[in-house]
Each structure stands twice: as structure tokens, then as C-alpha cells.
């Protein structure tokens, strides 16, 4: 049904836009369309993307449009893209991993349209490029805050699926927590869903029952935080500042800021300089960041986090610099070495200190 509503909306939208387009002769104006996987009001992943869209629209002055809740792996995605292109949109953003192959095919079909894909691993060097962020950087910092906040030394980590992006985040978080608190253990609960508040909340509850006093997460809803709040525990959120949902529990959150990257892609498209490469944004360029830290966190921890943040930005510290042991005690990164981007992108094992199975 939501597909039908989305489809209906797209039809209505396209009719109004066709009507509007008939009245003007700005054929060449750059217009950017966004295909979102979730609802823009999810307070998480899609919300952050829509904030980026609005910022980009304000800064570049180009017309933008979006459709929300477009499922992966169906014909819907292509239909929406074709609708937008028919309406004169010439920059298409797709914000979910599962859109990747469709975007690649469409980019071949429409060489004059720029396709920028979020979170995948493909690009064609011309009009189809890849954008993602080094979320592990702020995850490391959020781990430092969490490590300082636990007294049971057990942190529960509610996570969606054992894919490299999530495993990388858990590892960075754990290493950050261990920097402040060497005795800390991070236990992972897999939910097998990105977005089911009931399962996410119950997973957090299971860890709280087990004695965890801080809950971290790689999920898109706020349910885990609400359970932490009710239990008097603390919470590290994700995606955007979710402190309104659990004001007492909220410690901080690794967050996305897509605005600057969207501005960059739109400006490159306008200037004809878009190259369809790989962009892995970082704290240095502002794509990822750490939300404000709760007021009751010790000032020395806040200062240590600020120092690490500066070192990560200027390159003098890397969250995955050796020596790092894997969960089974083998050497993952030797002393004096730093994990290469390729290894990070394909990471499939946990670091020492994580409880749970990575596969």
C-alpha cells in the first residue's frame, strides 16, 4: 500500500511538475532528486538524509524533490528515477545499499544524468559515483564516552546485520571504550532488522537484564534508548541527535551530516566536473561527526574525546592503528601499522573485547 501511495504521490507530483515545467523554458537548470529507503520522519537514517537535502537546496538554490520509503530490489526504484528524469531532474541520489545495481544500470542508460549512490561499493568513473562516510571515526569517540559511563564494564550493542559497515563500527566503538576503560566488554545482539522497534527494544532489554548499563546501537529507531532510559541506564544513539527521545539516558551519538557532500555533488554536476568516483567522507570534511556529549560526562573524558577528534582530523591518530588483536587473540593489526581502507571495507572479524559472533 505504501508503494501505491508513493506511486500515486509520484504521479501527482509528476503531473504538477509537468504542468509547472510547461510554463517555463529553463530546460537546462540543474535539479536534484532523492530516493529515500525509509520515511523522512524516522529520526534516523532517512531523516539525516532529508536534512542534508534541505541544506543542499538552501545552499545551492537548485530545485530538489524526493520520494520516501522506496523498497530495495523492486521495479519501484527505476520507475521513480525515470519519472524524475522525465521531469528534467539530472542529479539522482539513492540512499540505500540495495539501490546500487539499479543505479549502475540506469547510469548507463542515462549518461547525461549524475547518479550518486550512498553506502555501496560501485562507481563507473563518469556519471555514477559512490558516497559514504568514515563513521568509524565518531564511533570510536562515542566508545570513549561509553567506556567512561559504564560501571558494570558491560556494554550492550544492539546491531542490525553482520556486514562490514556494522562490524567496523562495533570494533571502533570497542577500541574507543577500551582506551578509557581497559576492562570494558562490548556484547553484540543481532536483531536481523534495520527497523523493528519492538525487536530493537527487546534486544536492549535483554542486555540490560544481563547487567549492561550502557546500550549502543546500529539501528534506525530509538527503541533501544527508550529501554535504557526506563532502566536508568545510558545510551549511545546513532544517525542523528536523538536526545529528545531519552534525555536522561542519552550520552552522545555518532551522526551524519550529508549537506556538504550533497552540495559538492550538485555543484560538480552544474559545472560538469562530476567524475563518478569514490567519496569516503570523514570528520575532517564534516560528513560524520559526534553529537554533543551529555552534560554529566566527566570533563576529563570530554577533553580526551576532543583531543582524539582533533588527532583523527589532522591524521596523527587512526582508530584502527596497531597493535590490535582480533576476538580470538590473533594479531589483526601489528604495532606501528594502520588498517588499510580496503581491509576496513571488508572487515569480517571482531576485535578483542567484543562478545558475540561476527558471522
Amino acid at each position: 500500500m505504501r508503494r501505491r501511495i508513493a506511486g500515486l504521490l509520484a504521479v501527482v507530483l509528476s503531473l504538477t511538475l509537468v504542468a509547472a515545467a510547461c510554463g517555463s523554458d529553463e530546460e537546462d537548470a540543474t535539479k536534484a532528486a532523492f530516493i529515500f529507503v525509509g520515511p523522512v520522519g524516522d529520526a534516523g537514517w532517512t531523516y539525516a538524509h532529508d536534512q542534508g537535502r534541505q541544506a543542499a537546496a538552501a545552499e545551492t538554490g537548485v530545485e530538489t524533490a524526493f520520494v520516501e520509503a522506496v523498497p530495495e530490489g523492486t521495479a519501484d526504484f527505476g520507475n521513480h528515477v525515470r519519472d524524475f528524469i522525465d521531469q528534467g531532474f539530472n542529479v539522482i541520489f539513492g540512499t540505500s545499499f540495495g539501490y546500487m545495481d539499479d543505479m549502475e544500470a540506469l547510469a548507463g542508460e542515462f549518461p547525461d544524468v549524475v547518479f550518486d549512490h550512498i553506502s555501496g561499493y560501485k562507481a563507473n568513473g563518469t556519471n555514477f559515483g559512490n558516497t559514504f562516510g568514515r563513521m568509524y571515526e565518531p564511533r570510536y569517540l562515542s566508545g570513549m564516552v561509553a567506556g567512561s559511563a559504564t560501571s558494570s564494564n558491560l556494554i550492550g550493542y544492539v546491531a542490525a546485520f553482520p556486514i562490514p559497515e556494522v562490524i567496523r563500527g562495533i570494533n571502533a566503538f570497542t577500541l574507543g571504550a577500551q582506551e578509557i576503560n581497559p576492562d570494558v566488554q562490548v556484547e553484540v545482539v543481532w536483531t536481523s532488522t534495520w527497523f523493528d522497534p519492538v525487536v530493537e527494544g527487546d534486544s536492549a532489554q535483554a542486555m540490560l537484564d544481563k547487567g549492561a548499563d550502557v546500550i549502543a546501537m546500529h539501528q534506525d529507531s530509538t527503541a533501544a534508548g527508550e529501554k535504557a532510559e526506563a532502566a536508568g541506564a545510558r545510551w549511545v544513539a546513532y544517525n542523528s541527535d536523538m536526545s529528545a527521545h531519552a534525555p536522561a539516558a542519552h550520552l552522545t551519538a555518532p551522526v551524519w551530516d550529508w549537506g556538504p557532500r550533497y552540495v559538492e555533488v550538485i555543484e560538480q554536476a552544474m559545472a560538469g566536473t562530476y567524475e563518478g568516483g569514490y567519496f569516503w567522507g570523514s570528520m575532517a570534511d564534516g560528513t560524520v561527526d559526534l553529537a554533543p556529549i551529555a552534560a554529566d560526562v566527566d570533563a576529563s573524558v570530554v577533553a580526551a574525546v576532543a583531543e582524539r577528534k582533533q588527532q583523527i582530523i589532522d591524521g596523527s591518530f587512526h582508530p584502527f592503528q596497531g597493535p590490535i588483536n582480533a576476538q580470538d587473540g590473533s594479531v589483526l593489526v601489528a604495532a606501528g601499522e594502520t588498517m588499510a581502507d580496503g581491509d576496513m571495507l571488508g572487515i569480517g572479524v571482531f576485535v578483542e573485547g567484543v562478545i558475540g559472533s561476527a558471522g
Partner: protein
């Protein structure tokens, strides 16, 4: 496994069990009157969104619960209108109701996604009972809706099996023409039963958004309405057996992620299938047994009744 983890598991089992029981009880009432309603998922979604939105605007969780029950009953009556008044195919109407409920709830909840709850139904404090070890948190610290589910279970049993009204309802589901000949309004009974069923599904939906995870997102029901439909078959249309089934299925929901924290390496995806596998198993048992004794399902279930077409 620590004691706290085990208590937590039992607490979640009762909590999820009550959620499934409310919805399954409603479906059972409708089916006992002869109306199969596959729209449970949609009615729960409507109850969930109505409860959350009304709580947001009124700030009163009980008003929100009543509104959710009314919304569920209204969607149930829609099914009644199609299947009882118009005599439409029940499976098709029920499935349409699921699709309609999911879509309409998403539409109605658009402005409420991601917003903190306006009001919650918090756990009931039974005084010293709540402080008991084990039984306290598991039985006496639950949401009011858990106790409502228990009361609804007893009430359903009493009305259906101990009153003349209940006899008329069951007659409408077993042999509508007999009920008609006995002077009962089959259409009235069936409409009322499907409305009660919808109301209970609405309450189950409100349990999700007012108690279990006080927030609204599209798809919050996530297939749990279908488990309730399966549960009615599993429980052989008997409130007591449905209650046992609800606790069993509730246990599988509670175990889904908890097994990992107990250090058991078992796929949560396989565990999610368990309620359906158990139901298929029960169907097999029912069909084998029904060779020499009557099936527990209402004989007129799914059959539209028109007096002149007897």
C-alpha cells in the same frame, strides 16, 4: 545465564504473549461466529497508530486506548460490511483489510513518526506483590494491557460457553441456518463478533505503541498479526489453549534475540519461523485426527449466510 536474564526472559514472554493473545482472542471471537478475518495485521496497525496519535494530542493513555479499540472495531466492521452485508469472499476482504490498514496507518501516522510518546501505559504497581522475587516482575509489573488480556480471555470463555448469547454466537459459526431458525439475527451476531474482534486487535496495536515501544513507525506491527491468526488455529478455537499457545509463541519472540545473550548460537531467523512451523504441525495433527472426530474449526467458518440460499 544469570537469574536477572531468566526473569527478563519470562517477563518478555508474558508481555509478548499478552500482545498475541489480545489479537488472537479477537480473531477467535470472529471465527466462532463464522467470520474469518485475515485483516488482523491491518486492524492492529490502525489501533497502533490511533493509540499513538490520540496519546500525542490528548496526553491520556486511557483515552488513547479507547480510541485504538474503536479504530480496530471500525476496521473490523468494514470487514463485516463486505462479508456479512454484501456477502463478499472473506479471504479477499480480510487481505484487503490488511493492505488497507497498513497503508492508511502509514498515512495517518506521517506526522507522528519519530516523535516521543504523548502518553504511555506504564506497568501496574501491585504493591508488595510487585516486589516479590521472580513472580513480581514476571506477573505483577506488567502493562495494564496484560491484565486486560487475561480478563478478556476469561470473559470470552464465559460469554461464549456459559451464556445464551454465546450459544447463539457459536451457532452462527457452526450452522448459520440453525441459528437463524432459532430466531437469532445471524447478520447482527456476526457484525458484533467481527467488531469485538477488531476492537481486541486495536487494543493489541495500542499495546505496541502505548506500552511495549512507545513510538510510532510505519510497519511497527511487523507480522505479529499473522502470528495471532495462526495462534487461533494452534489453540483449536479454545481461549485456554490459545492462551497456552500465546505464551509459547511469546517465548519464541522473547528468545529471538535473547538466545544470543545466553551464549546460544542459533539463528534468530529460524526462531522467527517457529510459530508458523508449530501451527503447520498442529494443522497436520488436526487433519489426521479429524478422520474419526469432528474438526475443531467452526463448521460455517468463511461461508457467507443468505437465508434464501440455505
Amino acid at each position: 545465564m544469570t537469574e536477572a536474564s531468566l526473569v527478563g526472559l519470562l517477563e518478555a514472554t508474558v508481555s509478548f504473549g499478552a500482545l498475541l493473545y489480545l489479537a488472537a482472542l479477537g480473531e477467535m471471537v470472529a471465527e466462532k461466529a463464522g467470520i474469518l478475518n485475515l485483516g488482523v495485521e491491518g486492524m492492529m496497525a490502525m489501533g497502533a497508530v490511533t493509540g499513538f496519535v490520540v496519546a500525542l494530542h490528548s496526553g491520556d493513555p486511557w483515552v488513547a486506548l479507547l480510541a485504538a479499540v474503536a479504530a480496530g472495531a471500525a476496521v473490523g466492521l468494514l470487514h463485516g460490511f463486505f462479508t456479512v452485508v454484501l456477502g463478499a469472499e472473506q479471504v479477499v476482504s480480510g487481505l484487503s483489510l490488511t493492505i488497507l490498514g497498513l497503508g492508511l496507518s502509514a498515512y495517518l501516522g506521517r506526522g507522528s513518526v519519530g516523535r516521543p510518546a504523548g502518553a504511555e501505559l506504564v506497568g501496574v504497581d501491585w504493591g508488595p506483590l510487585t516486589d516479590l522475587p521472580w513472580a513480581g516482575p514476571v506477573l505483577f509489573g506488567q502493562s495494564p494491557l496484560v491484565y486486560l488480556a487475561v480478563v478478556a480471555g476469561f470473559a470470552t470463555w464465559f460469554v461464549l460457553w456459559r451464556t445464551r448469547l454465546g450459544l447463539a454466537v457459536r451457532a452462527a459459526g457452526e450452522s448459520a441456518s440453525t441459528a437463524d431458525a432459532a430466531g437469532h439475527s445471524v447478520a447482527g451476531i456476526r457484525l458484533a463478533a467481527v467488531a469485538v474482534g477488531g476492537g481486541l486487535a486495536g487494543a493489541a496495536g495500542a499495546y505496541l505503541t502505548l506500552s511495549l515501544t512507545p513510538q510510532w513507525v510505519e510497519g511497527v506491527v511487523a507480522g505479529r498479526g499473522w502470528i495471532a491468526v495462526a495462534l487461533v488455529i494452534f489453540g483449536a478455537w479454545r481461549p485456554g489453549r490459545v492462551a497456552i499457545g500465546a505464551l509459547l509463541f511469546g517465548l519464541t519472540l522473547a528468545l529471538k534475540t535473547r538466545l544470543q545473550t545466553f551464549g546460544v548460537d542459533f539463528s534468530p531467523i529460524l526462531l522467527s519461523m517457529l510459530p508458523y512451523l508449530l501451527t503447520v504441525g498442529v494443522l497436520v495433527v488436526i487433519s489426521i485426527r479429524s478422520r474419526n472426530r469432528p474438526s475443531p474449526s467452526p463448521a460455517a467458518l468463511g461461508i457467507a449466510y443468505r437465508r434464501e440460499e440455505r
